[in-house]
Point group: C2
Chain length 278, copies 2
Protein backbone atom coordinates (compact mmCIF):
# COMPACT_ATOMS: atom_id res chain seq x y z
CA UNK A 1 0.00 0.00 0.00
CA UNK A 2 1.46 3.31 -1.04
CA UNK A 3 0.08 6.48 0.50
CA UNK A 4 0.90 9.78 -1.14
CA UNK A 5 1.20 13.12 0.59
CA UNK A 6 -1.30 14.60 -1.82
CA UNK A 7 -3.95 12.02 -1.00
CA UNK A 8 -3.49 12.13 2.73
CA UNK A 9 -1.12 14.59 4.30
CA UNK A 10 -0.77 12.83 7.63
CA UNK A 11 -0.86 9.13 8.32
CA UNK A 12 -4.05 7.59 9.52
CA UNK A 13 -3.77 6.27 13.03
CA UNK A 14 -3.23 2.57 12.47
CA UNK A 15 -4.57 1.86 15.93
CA UNK A 16 -3.51 -0.30 18.83
CA UNK A 17 -3.79 -3.51 16.83
CA UNK A 18 -0.83 -2.66 14.61
CA UNK A 19 1.41 -1.14 17.25
CA UNK A 20 1.36 -4.27 19.42
CA UNK A 21 1.46 -8.01 18.95
CA UNK A 22 0.21 -10.97 20.98
CA UNK A 23 2.73 -13.58 22.12
CA UNK A 24 2.35 -16.72 24.22
CA UNK A 25 4.48 -16.67 27.32
CA UNK A 26 5.05 -18.51 30.56
CA UNK A 27 4.36 -16.46 33.68
CA UNK A 28 6.34 -17.99 36.52
CA UNK A 29 6.74 -17.48 40.21
CA UNK A 30 8.88 -19.69 42.46
CA UNK A 31 5.73 -21.72 43.14
CA UNK A 32 3.47 -21.51 40.09
CA UNK A 33 3.39 -21.67 36.30
CA UNK A 34 0.79 -20.31 33.91
CA UNK A 35 0.70 -20.12 30.14
CA UNK A 36 -0.82 -16.80 29.12
CA UNK A 37 -1.17 -14.54 26.10
CA UNK A 38 0.75 -11.31 26.57
CA UNK A 39 0.97 -8.12 24.51
CA UNK A 40 4.35 -6.82 23.33
CA UNK A 41 5.03 -3.61 21.48
CA UNK A 42 6.03 -3.88 17.81
CA UNK A 43 9.41 -2.63 16.55
CA UNK A 44 9.57 -1.68 12.87
CA UNK A 45 12.71 -0.93 10.82
CA UNK A 46 11.80 2.17 8.77
CA UNK A 47 14.16 3.23 6.00
CA UNK A 48 14.13 6.88 4.93
CA UNK A 49 14.99 7.60 1.29
CA UNK A 50 15.54 11.29 0.54
CA UNK A 51 15.53 12.21 -3.15
CA UNK A 52 16.27 8.62 -4.19
CA UNK A 53 19.19 8.38 -1.78
CA UNK A 54 18.95 5.86 1.06
CA UNK A 55 19.64 7.82 4.21
CA UNK A 56 19.04 5.94 7.45
CA UNK A 57 17.02 3.12 9.01
CA UNK A 58 15.21 3.94 12.25
CA UNK A 59 13.78 1.32 14.59
CA UNK A 60 10.34 2.66 15.46
CA UNK A 61 6.72 1.86 16.27
CA UNK A 62 4.74 1.02 13.11
CA UNK A 63 2.47 4.09 12.86
CA UNK A 64 2.74 7.62 11.50
CA UNK A 65 5.86 6.76 9.53
CA UNK A 66 5.58 9.78 7.21
CA UNK A 67 5.43 12.13 10.19
CA UNK A 68 8.49 10.41 11.63
CA UNK A 69 10.49 10.68 8.41
CA UNK A 70 9.68 14.36 7.90
CA UNK A 71 10.26 15.17 11.58
CA UNK A 72 13.60 13.37 11.55
CA UNK A 73 14.75 15.19 8.41
CA UNK A 74 13.74 18.51 9.94
CA UNK A 75 15.45 17.78 13.28
CA UNK A 76 18.65 16.83 11.46
CA UNK A 77 18.57 20.05 9.41
CA UNK A 78 18.09 18.24 6.09
CA UNK A 79 14.84 20.10 5.41
CA UNK A 80 13.97 23.54 6.72
CA UNK A 81 10.23 23.96 6.17
CA UNK A 82 6.98 22.65 4.74
CA UNK A 83 7.47 24.38 1.39
CA UNK A 84 10.63 22.36 0.67
CA UNK A 85 8.69 19.07 0.80
CA UNK A 86 7.34 18.12 -2.65
CA UNK A 87 6.09 14.62 -1.90
CA UNK A 88 6.11 11.95 0.81
CA UNK A 89 5.13 8.33 0.18
CA UNK A 90 5.19 5.30 2.46
CA UNK A 91 5.38 1.72 1.22
CA UNK A 92 4.37 -0.57 4.04
CA UNK A 93 5.60 -3.69 2.25
CA UNK A 94 9.20 -2.53 1.94
CA UNK A 95 9.20 -0.33 5.06
CA UNK A 96 10.45 2.65 3.06
CA UNK A 97 9.38 6.31 3.29
CA UNK A 98 10.44 8.29 0.22
CA UNK A 99 10.69 12.05 0.65
CA UNK A 100 11.19 14.35 -2.34
CA UNK A 101 12.27 17.93 -1.77
CA UNK A 102 12.89 21.05 -3.84
CA UNK A 103 16.46 21.26 -5.04
CA UNK A 104 16.83 17.66 -4.16
CA UNK A 105 20.41 16.88 -5.13
CA UNK A 106 22.10 17.99 -1.91
CA UNK A 107 24.61 15.62 -0.40
CA UNK A 108 22.27 14.67 2.44
CA UNK A 109 23.75 11.29 3.18
CA UNK A 110 27.24 12.69 3.53
CA UNK A 111 25.94 15.62 5.60
CA UNK A 112 24.06 13.34 7.98
CA UNK A 113 26.93 10.91 8.40
CA UNK A 114 29.31 13.79 8.89
CA UNK A 115 27.11 15.15 11.69
CA UNK A 116 26.66 11.75 13.28
CA UNK A 117 30.37 11.05 13.38
CA UNK A 118 31.80 14.48 14.03
CA UNK A 119 29.43 15.98 16.57
CA UNK A 120 31.45 16.80 19.63
CA UNK A 121 34.78 15.65 18.25
CA UNK A 122 37.68 17.98 18.67
CA UNK A 123 35.33 20.48 20.21
CA UNK A 124 34.11 18.13 22.91
CA UNK A 125 31.16 19.28 24.96
CA UNK A 126 31.45 22.83 23.66
CA UNK A 127 29.57 21.82 20.51
CA UNK A 128 26.56 20.92 22.58
CA UNK A 129 26.39 24.21 24.41
CA UNK A 130 26.70 26.46 21.38
CA UNK A 131 23.59 28.26 20.19
CA UNK A 132 25.10 28.20 16.70
CA UNK A 133 23.68 24.67 16.35
CA UNK A 134 20.29 26.28 15.82
CA UNK A 135 21.43 29.80 15.05
CA UNK A 136 19.44 31.63 17.70
CA UNK A 137 18.00 31.62 21.20
CA UNK A 138 14.32 30.98 21.72
CA UNK A 139 12.52 34.19 22.64
CA UNK A 140 8.91 33.98 23.74
CA UNK A 141 6.70 35.86 26.21
CA UNK A 142 4.82 32.62 27.03
CA UNK A 143 4.03 32.10 30.69
CA UNK A 144 2.43 29.04 32.26
CA UNK A 145 1.36 28.22 35.79
CA UNK A 146 2.45 25.20 37.83
CA UNK A 147 -1.21 24.12 38.01
CA UNK A 148 -1.48 24.17 34.22
CA UNK A 149 1.68 22.05 33.85
CA UNK A 150 0.36 19.51 36.34
CA UNK A 151 -2.99 19.33 34.51
CA UNK A 152 -1.32 18.91 31.11
CA UNK A 153 0.91 16.13 32.47
CA UNK A 154 -2.11 14.32 33.90
CA UNK A 155 -3.85 14.46 30.51
CA UNK A 156 -0.60 13.42 28.78
CA UNK A 157 -0.23 10.33 30.93
CA UNK A 158 -3.83 9.31 30.29
CA UNK A 159 -3.24 9.45 26.54
CA UNK A 160 -0.53 6.83 26.29
CA UNK A 161 -2.52 3.64 25.79
CA UNK A 162 0.27 1.61 24.25
CA UNK A 163 2.51 2.29 27.21
CA UNK A 164 -0.09 1.11 29.65
CA UNK A 165 -0.65 -2.09 27.66
CA UNK A 166 2.96 -3.08 27.15
CA UNK A 167 5.25 -0.95 29.29
CA UNK A 168 7.57 -0.18 26.41
CA UNK A 169 6.74 3.14 24.75
CA UNK A 170 7.62 6.82 25.08
CA UNK A 171 5.22 9.68 24.39
CA UNK A 172 5.58 13.27 23.26
CA UNK A 173 3.07 16.09 22.82
CA UNK A 174 2.75 19.68 21.65
CA UNK A 175 0.47 21.74 23.90
CA UNK A 176 -0.81 25.24 24.46
CA UNK A 177 -1.24 26.25 28.10
CA UNK A 178 -4.56 24.40 28.33
CA UNK A 179 -4.71 21.54 25.84
CA UNK A 180 -2.70 18.87 24.06
CA UNK A 181 -2.62 19.83 20.36
CA UNK A 182 -0.55 17.00 18.87
CA UNK A 183 0.28 13.68 20.57
CA UNK A 184 2.32 10.69 19.53
CA UNK A 185 4.16 7.72 20.97
CA UNK A 186 6.96 5.43 19.87
CA UNK A 187 9.36 2.85 21.23
CA UNK A 188 12.04 5.57 20.96
CA UNK A 189 11.79 8.89 22.80
CA UNK A 190 13.54 10.67 19.89
CA UNK A 191 11.11 9.13 17.41
CA UNK A 192 8.05 10.18 19.46
CA UNK A 193 9.21 13.79 19.33
CA UNK A 194 10.10 13.64 15.63
CA UNK A 195 6.60 12.26 14.93
CA UNK A 196 5.01 15.21 16.74
CA UNK A 197 7.19 17.78 14.95
CA UNK A 198 6.74 16.01 11.60
CA UNK A 199 2.95 16.31 11.96
CA UNK A 200 3.34 19.98 12.91
CA UNK A 201 5.39 20.59 9.79
CA UNK A 202 3.13 18.69 7.39
CA UNK A 203 -0.05 20.30 8.81
CA UNK A 204 1.45 23.77 9.23
CA UNK A 205 0.80 23.76 12.98
CA UNK A 206 2.86 26.55 14.58
CA UNK A 207 5.02 25.57 17.55
CA UNK A 208 6.19 29.01 18.70
CA UNK A 209 4.73 29.94 22.08
CA UNK A 210 3.87 26.30 22.81
CA UNK A 211 4.97 23.69 25.35
CA UNK A 212 6.38 20.28 24.52
CA UNK A 213 5.93 17.36 26.92
CA UNK A 214 8.02 14.19 26.82
CA UNK A 215 7.86 11.04 28.91
CA UNK A 216 11.59 10.51 28.51
CA UNK A 217 14.85 11.77 29.90
CA UNK A 218 15.89 15.21 28.66
CA UNK A 219 19.27 14.84 26.95
CA UNK A 220 21.15 17.15 24.60
CA UNK A 221 19.61 15.59 21.49
CA UNK A 222 16.07 16.29 22.71
CA UNK A 223 17.01 19.94 23.38
CA UNK A 224 18.29 20.32 19.81
CA UNK A 225 15.00 19.06 18.37
CA UNK A 226 12.94 21.42 20.54
CA UNK A 227 15.20 24.39 19.74
CA UNK A 228 14.87 23.71 16.00
CA UNK A 229 11.11 24.25 16.38
CA UNK A 230 11.55 27.38 18.53
CA UNK A 231 9.57 25.90 21.44
CA UNK A 232 10.09 27.95 24.65
CA UNK A 233 9.05 25.41 27.34
CA UNK A 234 10.03 21.74 27.60
CA UNK A 235 8.36 19.56 30.24
CA UNK A 236 9.22 16.00 31.29
CA UNK A 237 8.17 13.58 33.96
CA UNK A 238 11.78 12.33 33.92
CA UNK A 239 15.17 13.83 34.74
CA UNK A 240 17.39 16.02 32.56
CA UNK A 241 21.11 15.46 32.02
CA UNK A 242 23.63 18.18 32.90
CA UNK A 243 24.17 18.82 29.18
CA UNK A 244 20.40 19.11 28.74
CA UNK A 245 20.31 21.76 31.48
CA UNK A 246 23.29 23.64 30.01
CA UNK A 247 21.85 23.63 26.49
CA UNK A 248 18.41 24.75 27.72
CA UNK A 249 20.12 27.65 29.50
CA UNK A 250 22.11 28.60 26.38
CA UNK A 251 19.17 28.14 23.98
CA UNK A 252 16.69 30.21 26.02
CA UNK A 253 14.43 27.24 26.78
CA UNK A 254 12.55 26.80 30.08
CA UNK A 255 13.27 23.27 31.31
CA UNK A 256 10.76 21.66 33.69
CA UNK A 257 11.54 18.13 34.91
CA UNK A 258 10.36 15.50 37.35
CA UNK A 259 6.72 16.54 36.96
CA UNK A 260 5.23 14.01 39.34
CA UNK A 261 2.34 14.17 41.74
CA UNK A 262 1.86 17.79 42.72
CA UNK A 263 5.31 19.27 42.21
CA UNK A 264 7.73 20.25 39.43
CA UNK A 265 11.46 21.05 39.20
CA UNK A 266 12.34 24.14 37.15
CA UNK A 267 15.93 24.05 35.89
CA UNK A 268 16.30 27.05 33.56
CA UNK A 269 14.64 30.30 32.42
CA UNK A 270 12.32 30.29 35.41
CA UNK A 271 10.67 33.58 34.39
CA UNK A 272 8.20 31.67 32.19
CA UNK A 273 6.74 29.75 35.13
CA UNK A 274 3.95 31.59 36.89
CA UNK A 275 4.12 30.53 40.50
CA UNK A 276 0.51 31.43 41.18
CA UNK A 277 -2.37 28.97 41.27
CA UNK A 278 -3.97 29.06 37.81
CA UNK B 1 45.26 12.78 31.58
CA UNK B 2 45.99 9.88 29.25
CA UNK B 3 45.55 6.33 30.50
CA UNK B 4 47.11 3.53 28.53
CA UNK B 5 45.82 0.00 28.29
CA UNK B 6 49.21 -1.29 29.40
CA UNK B 7 49.18 0.74 32.60
CA UNK B 8 45.61 -0.03 33.56
CA UNK B 9 43.57 -2.44 31.54
CA UNK B 10 40.20 -1.30 32.81
CA UNK B 11 39.19 2.17 33.82
CA UNK B 12 39.18 3.10 37.45
CA UNK B 13 35.73 3.78 38.74
CA UNK B 14 35.58 7.54 38.68
CA UNK B 15 32.86 7.47 41.34
CA UNK B 16 29.55 9.17 41.84
CA UNK B 17 31.09 12.61 41.94
CA UNK B 18 32.01 12.56 38.25
CA UNK B 19 28.88 10.86 36.94
CA UNK B 20 26.58 13.51 38.38
CA UNK B 21 26.52 17.27 38.80
CA UNK B 22 24.82 19.64 41.22
CA UNK B 23 22.46 22.29 39.87
CA UNK B 24 20.35 24.94 41.57
CA UNK B 25 16.66 24.57 40.80
CA UNK B 26 13.27 25.83 41.85
CA UNK B 27 10.96 23.20 43.27
CA UNK B 28 7.40 24.41 42.84
CA UNK B 29 3.94 23.29 43.76
CA UNK B 30 0.79 25.30 43.08
CA UNK B 31 1.20 26.76 46.58
CA UNK B 32 4.91 26.83 47.43
CA UNK B 33 8.37 27.68 46.10
CA UNK B 34 11.72 26.45 47.32
CA UNK B 35 15.21 26.96 45.93
CA UNK B 36 17.15 23.74 46.32
CA UNK B 37 20.29 22.04 45.08
CA UNK B 38 19.49 19.02 42.92
CA UNK B 39 21.65 16.30 41.37
CA UNK B 40 21.52 15.66 37.61
CA UNK B 41 23.32 12.94 35.71
CA UNK B 42 26.20 13.99 33.46
CA UNK B 43 26.14 13.42 29.70
CA UNK B 44 29.54 13.18 28.00
CA UNK B 45 30.23 13.20 24.23
CA UNK B 46 32.83 10.43 23.72
CA UNK B 47 34.53 10.18 20.34
CA UNK B 48 35.95 6.82 19.28
CA UNK B 49 39.00 6.90 17.00
CA UNK B 50 39.90 3.50 15.53
CA UNK B 51 43.38 3.27 13.99
CA UNK B 52 43.58 7.07 13.59
CA UNK B 53 40.20 7.20 11.88
CA UNK B 54 37.40 9.11 13.63
CA UNK B 55 34.50 6.69 13.83
CA UNK B 56 31.58 7.86 15.96
CA UNK B 57 30.64 10.09 18.89
CA UNK B 58 28.53 8.48 21.61
CA UNK B 59 26.65 10.44 24.27
CA UNK B 60 27.42 8.56 27.48
CA UNK B 61 28.02 8.75 31.21
CA UNK B 62 31.59 9.93 31.97
CA UNK B 63 33.08 6.71 33.37
CA UNK B 64 34.64 3.54 31.96
CA UNK B 65 35.10 5.11 28.55
CA UNK B 66 37.66 2.56 27.38
CA UNK B 67 35.31 -0.30 28.21
CA UNK B 68 32.56 1.48 26.29
CA UNK B 69 34.72 2.04 23.21
CA UNK B 70 35.94 -1.55 23.07
CA UNK B 71 32.47 -2.94 23.81
CA UNK B 72 30.93 -0.77 21.08
CA UNK B 73 33.54 -1.84 18.52
CA UNK B 74 32.96 -5.48 19.42
CA UNK B 75 29.16 -5.18 19.24
CA UNK B 76 29.41 -3.53 15.83
CA UNK B 77 31.68 -6.31 14.54
CA UNK B 78 34.67 -4.00 14.05
CA UNK B 79 36.81 -6.07 16.41
CA UNK B 80 36.40 -9.78 17.07
CA UNK B 81 38.47 -10.53 20.16
CA UNK B 82 40.90 -9.37 22.83
CA UNK B 83 43.95 -10.40 20.81
CA UNK B 84 43.11 -7.92 18.03
CA UNK B 85 43.37 -4.96 20.44
CA UNK B 86 46.91 -3.55 20.55
CA UNK B 87 46.32 -0.42 22.60
CA UNK B 88 43.51 1.68 24.09
CA UNK B 89 44.05 5.21 25.41
CA UNK B 90 41.59 7.76 26.76
CA UNK B 91 42.21 11.49 26.79
CA UNK B 92 39.76 13.08 29.18
CA UNK B 93 40.53 16.61 27.96
CA UNK B 94 39.51 15.97 24.36
CA UNK B 95 36.95 13.24 25.14
CA UNK B 96 38.61 10.85 22.70
CA UNK B 97 39.28 7.12 23.10
CA UNK B 98 41.88 5.87 20.62
CA UNK B 99 41.84 2.15 19.84
CA UNK B 100 44.64 0.52 17.86
CA UNK B 101 44.12 -2.94 16.41
CA UNK B 102 46.12 -5.55 14.51
CA UNK B 103 45.80 -5.11 10.76
CA UNK B 104 44.43 -1.68 11.41
CA UNK B 105 43.76 -0.33 7.93
CA UNK B 106 40.31 -1.80 7.44
CA UNK B 107 37.63 0.54 6.17
CA UNK B 108 35.89 0.63 9.54
CA UNK B 109 34.19 3.97 9.09
CA UNK B 110 32.65 2.95 5.80
CA UNK B 111 31.66 -0.43 7.22
CA UNK B 112 29.96 1.14 10.24
CA UNK B 113 28.13 3.76 8.23
CA UNK B 114 27.07 1.15 5.73
CA UNK B 115 25.58 -0.96 8.53
CA UNK B 116 23.91 2.04 10.16
CA UNK B 117 22.26 3.15 6.95
CA UNK B 118 21.50 -0.13 5.26
CA UNK B 119 20.33 -2.36 8.06
CA UNK B 120 16.84 -3.48 7.24
CA UNK B 121 16.61 -1.75 3.90
CA UNK B 122 15.31 -3.76 1.02
CA UNK B 123 15.18 -6.73 3.32
CA UNK B 124 12.95 -5.05 5.85
CA UNK B 125 12.43 -6.87 9.13
CA UNK B 126 13.94 -10.07 7.76
CA UNK B 127 17.42 -8.74 8.44
CA UNK B 128 16.66 -8.60 12.12
CA UNK B 129 15.47 -12.15 12.39
CA UNK B 130 18.36 -13.74 10.51
CA UNK B 131 20.91 -15.65 12.54
CA UNK B 132 23.45 -14.76 9.86
CA UNK B 133 23.89 -11.43 11.69
CA UNK B 134 25.92 -13.34 14.26
CA UNK B 135 26.60 -16.48 12.28
CA UNK B 136 25.20 -18.98 14.76
CA UNK B 137 22.60 -19.81 17.40
CA UNK B 138 23.52 -19.72 21.06
CA UNK B 139 23.80 -23.25 22.44
CA UNK B 140 24.23 -23.67 26.17
CA UNK B 141 23.09 -26.23 28.78
CA UNK B 142 22.72 -23.45 31.38
CA UNK B 143 19.64 -23.69 33.59
CA UNK B 144 18.51 -21.19 36.19
CA UNK B 145 15.62 -21.15 38.64
CA UNK B 146 12.98 -18.46 38.98
CA UNK B 147 14.16 -17.87 42.57
CA UNK B 148 17.71 -17.27 41.37
CA UNK B 149 16.52 -14.76 38.75
CA UNK B 150 14.47 -12.88 41.36
CA UNK B 151 17.46 -12.79 43.74
CA UNK B 152 19.83 -11.55 41.01
CA UNK B 153 17.36 -8.81 40.00
CA UNK B 154 17.06 -7.67 43.62
CA UNK B 155 20.86 -7.41 43.90
CA UNK B 156 21.01 -5.68 40.47
CA UNK B 157 18.53 -3.02 41.52
CA UNK B 158 20.41 -2.32 44.73
CA UNK B 159 23.60 -1.70 42.77
CA UNK B 160 22.42 1.22 40.69
CA UNK B 161 23.30 4.17 42.88
CA UNK B 162 23.33 6.79 40.13
CA UNK B 163 19.82 5.86 39.10
CA UNK B 164 18.52 6.26 42.60
CA UNK B 165 20.18 9.67 42.94
CA UNK B 166 19.07 11.16 39.62
CA UNK B 167 16.46 8.96 37.97
CA UNK B 168 18.24 8.99 34.66
CA UNK B 169 20.46 5.97 34.17
CA UNK B 170 20.26 2.42 32.82
CA UNK B 171 22.20 -0.52 34.22
CA UNK B 172 23.52 -3.80 32.80
CA UNK B 173 25.26 -6.76 34.40
CA UNK B 174 26.88 -10.07 33.60
CA UNK B 175 26.00 -12.78 36.15
CA UNK B 176 26.42 -16.45 36.87
CA UNK B 177 23.41 -18.13 38.45
CA UNK B 178 24.33 -16.77 41.89
CA UNK B 179 26.30 -13.53 41.62
CA UNK B 180 26.78 -10.39 39.61
CA UNK B 181 30.22 -10.63 37.97
CA UNK B 182 30.39 -7.34 36.04
CA UNK B 183 28.12 -4.33 36.53
CA UNK B 184 27.89 -0.97 34.82
CA UNK B 185 25.48 1.89 34.25
CA UNK B 186 25.09 4.65 31.70
CA UNK B 187 22.57 7.21 30.49
CA UNK B 188 22.08 4.90 27.47
CA UNK B 189 20.90 1.31 27.78
CA UNK B 190 23.05 0.32 24.78
CA UNK B 191 26.10 1.97 26.34
CA UNK B 192 25.60 0.22 29.69
CA UNK B 193 25.67 -3.14 27.94
CA UNK B 194 28.66 -2.22 25.76
CA UNK B 195 30.55 -1.17 28.93
CA UNK B 196 29.88 -4.57 30.50
CA UNK B 197 30.94 -6.48 27.39
CA UNK B 198 33.96 -4.19 26.86
CA UNK B 199 35.19 -5.00 30.36
CA UNK B 200 34.62 -8.70 29.71
CA UNK B 201 36.69 -8.48 26.55
CA UNK B 202 39.56 -6.48 28.05
CA UNK B 203 39.73 -8.67 31.16
CA UNK B 204 39.16 -11.97 29.33
CA UNK B 205 36.03 -12.71 31.36
CA UNK B 206 34.07 -15.48 29.59
CA UNK B 207 30.39 -14.79 28.90
CA UNK B 208 29.29 -18.23 27.64
CA UNK B 209 26.92 -19.93 30.08
CA UNK B 210 26.17 -16.60 31.80
CA UNK B 211 23.09 -14.40 32.23
CA UNK B 212 22.89 -10.75 31.28
CA UNK B 213 20.53 -8.40 33.12
CA UNK B 214 19.39 -5.04 31.76
CA UNK B 215 17.19 -2.36 33.27
CA UNK B 216 15.99 -1.33 29.83
CA UNK B 217 13.58 -2.41 27.18
CA UNK B 218 14.69 -5.43 25.13
CA UNK B 219 14.84 -4.36 21.49
CA UNK B 220 16.49 -5.94 18.47
CA UNK B 221 19.75 -4.04 18.98
CA UNK B 222 20.15 -5.37 22.52
CA UNK B 223 19.60 -8.92 21.25
CA UNK B 224 22.37 -8.50 18.68
CA UNK B 225 24.86 -7.41 21.36
CA UNK B 226 23.99 -10.35 23.59
CA UNK B 227 24.16 -12.83 20.70
CA UNK B 228 27.63 -11.52 19.71
CA UNK B 229 28.86 -12.59 23.18
CA UNK B 230 27.11 -15.97 23.01
CA UNK B 231 25.07 -15.29 26.18
CA UNK B 232 22.20 -17.82 26.55
CA UNK B 233 19.87 -15.96 28.97
CA UNK B 234 18.79 -12.29 28.86
CA UNK B 235 16.81 -10.85 31.77
CA UNK B 236 15.09 -7.46 32.03
CA UNK B 237 12.80 -5.72 34.44
CA UNK B 238 11.24 -4.06 31.37
CA UNK B 239 9.30 -5.27 28.33
CA UNK B 240 10.64 -6.75 25.10
CA UNK B 241 9.56 -5.67 21.62
CA UNK B 242 8.09 -8.17 19.16
CA UNK B 243 11.32 -8.04 17.16
CA UNK B 244 13.29 -8.69 20.36
CA UNK B 245 11.15 -11.79 20.98
CA UNK B 246 11.52 -12.98 17.38
CA UNK B 247 15.29 -12.52 17.38
CA UNK B 248 15.67 -14.26 20.74
CA UNK B 249 13.73 -17.21 19.33
CA UNK B 250 15.87 -17.30 16.18
CA UNK B 251 19.17 -16.79 18.01
CA UNK B 252 18.58 -19.47 20.66
CA UNK B 253 18.43 -16.99 23.56
CA UNK B 254 16.14 -17.38 26.57
CA UNK B 255 14.32 -14.09 27.05
CA UNK B 256 12.97 -13.24 30.51
CA UNK B 257 11.12 -9.93 30.91
CA UNK B 258 9.05 -7.95 33.40
CA UNK B 259 11.00 -9.34 36.35
CA UNK B 260 9.15 -7.46 39.06
CA UNK B 261 8.15 -8.40 42.56
CA UNK B 262 7.88 -12.18 42.71
CA UNK B 263 7.15 -13.10 39.12
CA UNK B 264 8.78 -13.28 35.70
CA UNK B 265 7.62 -13.58 32.08
CA UNK B 266 9.49 -16.11 29.94
CA UNK B 267 9.17 -15.38 26.22
CA UNK B 268 11.51 -17.81 24.45
CA UNK B 269 13.59 -20.98 24.95
CA UNK B 270 11.82 -21.80 28.17
CA UNK B 271 13.80 -25.02 28.68
CA UNK B 272 16.55 -23.06 30.43
CA UNK B 273 14.25 -21.90 33.22
CA UNK B 274 13.99 -24.34 36.08
CA UNK B 275 10.51 -23.92 37.49
CA UNK B 276 11.43 -25.35 40.89
CA UNK B 277 12.27 -23.29 43.93
CA UNK B 278 16.04 -23.03 44.11
Amino acid sequence: MIQSLHQDISDLDTGMEDKTEKVNILRLTAESTSEIEDTVVREFPLTIVLNDQELVTLLCSPADQKNLAVGFLYSEGLINGRDEVKNVTFNEGTGVVRVETEGGDVLAREALFSRLITSGCGRGASFYSATDVTGKKVESPLQVSVSAILALMKDFQHRSETFRATGGVHSAALCDTKNILVFNEDIGRHNAMDKVFGECLLKDIPTDDCLVITSGRISSEILLKVARRNVPILVSKSAPTNLGVKMAEDLGITLVGFVRGKRVNVYTHKQRINRGGI
